[in-house]
């Protein structure tokens, strides 16, 4: 009996590609002469391209026919591949945007790309795991790489504080997640999603240990997607980490966590749907309110985007709470569109330099339209998209989660969501306001003065992809909608 068959290996071929490339970058780093280090970046991008193509080819015959691998611990289905494609694209864009930024910050080390790849492989395992422990392994691989990346500016205090905070709180939440998994195992005798589902079905309803386990899982995943009240780490970590890492956390790690979150709750805990929906509604409402309201008073754009990312987690949670096919598709759609607009916004942040440091105060955007009209224009686009104003992608994303809420007979949730969407317009528009309606010298003497805009070909590519993505997904969303709707998990 062989433990690993060719079919199994084929199923994880994209993961293998990414993981191997990540290790290869680490190994080749000391062997590469200093002036050739860029080749390692290209190697990472090539691995991502290969993984994208392989994933895409695996997608074709899968729609509706999931294939299991590694004795049912791993599943290859359209759902997982949708997320993988999204994560691969997001990672590639992060690598591109990081290149120029890391050079400016003088921390352009090949390890960065290796950690992106390792983290990505963790995410890919997460979205395809059919076993709670496999998902946990993927989650830890993702998180450990992110902890290191958060402290990548290792000579500065703030990034180190961010990394330490992230590590401690992250480990704590992982522990809680693991505790939840162990309780589930104790009650149901299984860690596979299918086994847990059967175990729950066999137990009488209202089993207190099951409910405790479910709550612990919500805490664990809530931490990863930055939902209130498990969001405390987000502002500090987002502000302190290098901006490219922040973007990666806000987009990719959030998407992967949502993917695993939904898979675990729809597949394994489908039997407790009424219970977890009740809890999640509260989390969702709190997340939307706190994220949007606290973002208003921020003066640092990374902190503002941190609270905005909390708020967006709240919107995406609406789709999870809806807990039906439409809701699931709306979450996938939301995070896909969110990836483009958020990556774009963070990329613009990396381009601003105030003296030798990054211009991450909102005041640094003052008069940007006069300094660099293209940077200001795309930032305007991303801000309006984050606020959910048509014809941008952000509107489509919000439209679908609102549809999901009303479709699941929760119009009150939709009303609450739109009220706080209106609130959010205030702080997104503030960025537009300082860029377009203030003169560059207007804040002389304050940090806004003497801000340069540094553009490199790689950042321009990222901005173009993000801007075109935001517009195309806003005007012609049908392809992505169809893709998301055909890739949902089977409802049980």
């Amino acid at each position: 009996m062989t433990f690993v068959s060719t079919a199994d290996l084929l199923a994880i071929l994209p993961e293998l590609l990414v993981m191997t490339a990540g290790c290869l970058v680490l190994v080749l780093d000391p062997l590469t002469p200093k002036d050739r280090k860029d080749w390692l970046t290209y190697l990472s991008l090539a691995a991502l391209a290969a993984a994208f193509v392989v994933s895409y080819m695996l997608m074709g015959p899968l729609t509706g026919f999931p294939r299991r691998a590694f004795s049912g611990l791993y599943v290859l289905d359209a759902y997982g591949i949708f997320w993988k494609l999204l994560l691969i694209v997001a990672s590639a864009l992060v690598i591109l945007m990081a290149k120029a930024y890391l050079k400016l910050e003088e921390i352009d080390l090949p390890e960065f790309y290796a950690f992106i790849l390792l983290s990505l492989s963790g995410m890919m395992v997460m979205v395809s795991g059919a076993d709670l422990l496999v998902i946990y392994l993927g989650l830890e691989l993702m998180s450990l790489s992110l902890y290191v990346m958060a402290g990548f500016k290792r000579y500065e205090l703030r990034p180190l504080e961010a990394a330490a905070k992230y590590f401690i709180l992250g480990s704590f939440s992982s522990g809680i997640l693991l505790y939840g998994i162990s309780l589930l195992f104790g009650r149901t005798g299984s860690t596979t999603l299918a086994g847990v589902r059967e175990g729950i079905a066999a137990l009488p309803s209202g089993d207190p240990i099951l409910l405790l386990a479910m709550s612990l899982l919500i805490v664990g995943f809530g931490f990863k997607v930055a939902a209130v009240p498990f969001h405390m780490w987000t502002p500090d970590v987002y502000e302190g980490s290098p901006t490219s890492v922040t973007a990666y956390m806000a987009v990719a790690s959030k998407a992967a966590s949502f993917a695993a979150f939904m898979r675990v709750f729809m597949e394994a805990l489908g039997g407790l749907k009424e219970e977890w929906r009740m809890l999640l509604v509260a989390v969702c409402v709190a997340t939307m309110i706190l994220g949007n309201v606290v973002a208003i008073v921020q003066t640092n754009i990374k902190r503002m985007l941190a609270y905005s990312s909390i708020a967006h987690a709240g919107y995406a949670l609406i789709g999870v709470v809806a807990a039906d096919a439409f809701g699931m598709a709306s979450v996938m759609l939301y995070l896909a569109i969110y990836a483009f607009m958020n990556l774009g916004a963070f990329t613009v942040v990396t381009m601003l330099r105030r003296g030798g440091v990054e211009g991450d105060e909102i005041d640094d955007f003052t008069g940007l339209a006069k300094r660099n009209k293209w940077a200001a224009l795309v930032m305007l686009l991303f801000m309006f998209s984050l606020a959910g104003i048509p014809p941008t992608g952000g509107f489509i994303a919000k439209f679908y989660v609102f549809m999901a809420a009303v479709g699941a007979h929760m119009p009150a949730l939709a009303v609450l969501a739109v009220v706080f969407a209106a609130v959010s317009a205030y702080f997104y528009l503030r960025v537009v306001m300082v860029m377009y309606m203030r003169e560059p010298g207007e804040t002389a003497g304050t940090p806004g003065y003497n801000v340069r805009v540094v553009a490199s070909p790689a950042t321009i590519v990222v901005l173009l992809v993000a801007a075109i993505g935001v517009i195309v997904l806003g005007v012609f969303p049908d392809q992505l909608v169809k893709a998301a709707q055909s890739a949902i998990l089977p409802l049980r």
Binding site: F384, I389, P390, P391, F395, F399, F402, M403, V406, G407, P411, A414, V415, V418, V419, A421, A422, A425, Y426, L429, V432, M433, Y436, M437, P477, D478, V481, K482, Q485
Partner: protein
Amino acid sequence: MPDVILNTTALPHLLTLLIALPLIGVAVMAFFKDEASVKHVAFWTAGLEFVLSLPLYFWFDPSRHQMQFGEVVPWITTPSISYAVGIDGISLWLVLLTTLLTPICVVCSWTAITSRMREFMITLLVMETALVGVFCALNFVLFYVFWEAMLIPMYLLIGVWGGPNRIYAAIKFFLYTLAGSLLLLVAIIVLYFQGGHTFDILALSRAHYSDHMQAWLFWAFFVAFAVKVPMFPFHTWLPDAHVEAPTAGSVILASILLKMGAYGFLRFSLPMLPDASVRFAPVVLALSVIAILYGAYMALAQSDLKKLIAYSSVSHMGFVTLGIFVFNTQGAEGALLQMLNHGITTGGLFLCVGLIYERTHSRLIADNGGLSKPMPRYAACLVIFALSSLGLPGTNNFISEFLVLVGSFIYNKAIAAVATLGIILAAVYLLWMVQRVAFGVPSEKTARLPDLNWCEMATLVPLIILIFWIGVFPNPFLTPMHASIEHVFVLMDRGSGLP
């Protein structure tokens, strides 16, 4: 969709062309480096747009209530949303008003805008696309996309090119209207589930909704539309936005944007929610009458010309909502004509204020006295617009306000009587304003002002022609409305019936 007709004309995709043409103009601008050419591109785009919109009137079949020049193309599969456009006798006039005023706005900004000319023209043209789209959309989601998309250019128009307090005005405008319209979005989604899983406006207008549901939806619609109109007490963003906006912004805001709210009442609230409309009509009518009187009363007290006209807009738009919610043909046609007239007259008044502001850099009545001597042509135009605004017989507003009052008299005599007071107050504040601005003693500064040149006259003359045309011979304007307005009441009748 049986309610949408594709008129077999020489221009098959006319409405789509009208929606897209301003964007094409924006793309063409990219090929020109200097600002002078950019202005010309903007002007010719807007001009061509107007010329192309004229066939809408000539090829329009006034005997039918159906949507004409229709186009339906699938847009999103699940939920089924199509790109559906078409116009009837209601939207026809608002589309034409938009295409007429945009080139005028381009011309009036020719020298008035001194910074970022290219961005200004782009904003103006994007605005035109959104506005034409709003009035043509036959799918609720499509409607909403245009309805909201319009916020972006308007926010920039006020905030970038506005007066000293522009940032406050821009954000106030944006948040007010966004908060209102987001509730509309939820209402649209609820309608989808209640009205048979469709976003088709015409199908939704035929479906039945429970009384309870209608009440909820009515108020969600009401907030969105009332903020846009704006009705008392949602009007407070309007004076700020008008005062700070550049002339072109004020003209678009007053003449077209405010109509979106009234259009919403006529297109959505009445046909879709007939029972709730009838049930809550007293509230709307009371607010309308308050707006008429309160707007006029506030206008009396203003020393700033733009603020005066802004409050007069609140008053005049009160007649529109009054006419819509008395549920008879006279009232509704009067309201629709009043929308058109208010667009023409108030647009003209704002242009006049802009012209004098360019010369004296003040909008205060006190700073702009006695203009009839140095600027006779200007004074003449101002007097004509003012007289039209106060509803002098022979001008356009007389016809529409008369129709609205006839309609409200049929509905309730007391309301008509009180609303008439608004016309008297209008005469007071407008004549007083004209007396001070046109016929006072010119100060040293104003005595040497140059009169209007031909280019400036060209922006006002078309509006003056329309004022007298509608005032003397309104039939060509009323005829296309009849069938469509009648149809609104046919749709309403499927409810519990009219009073």
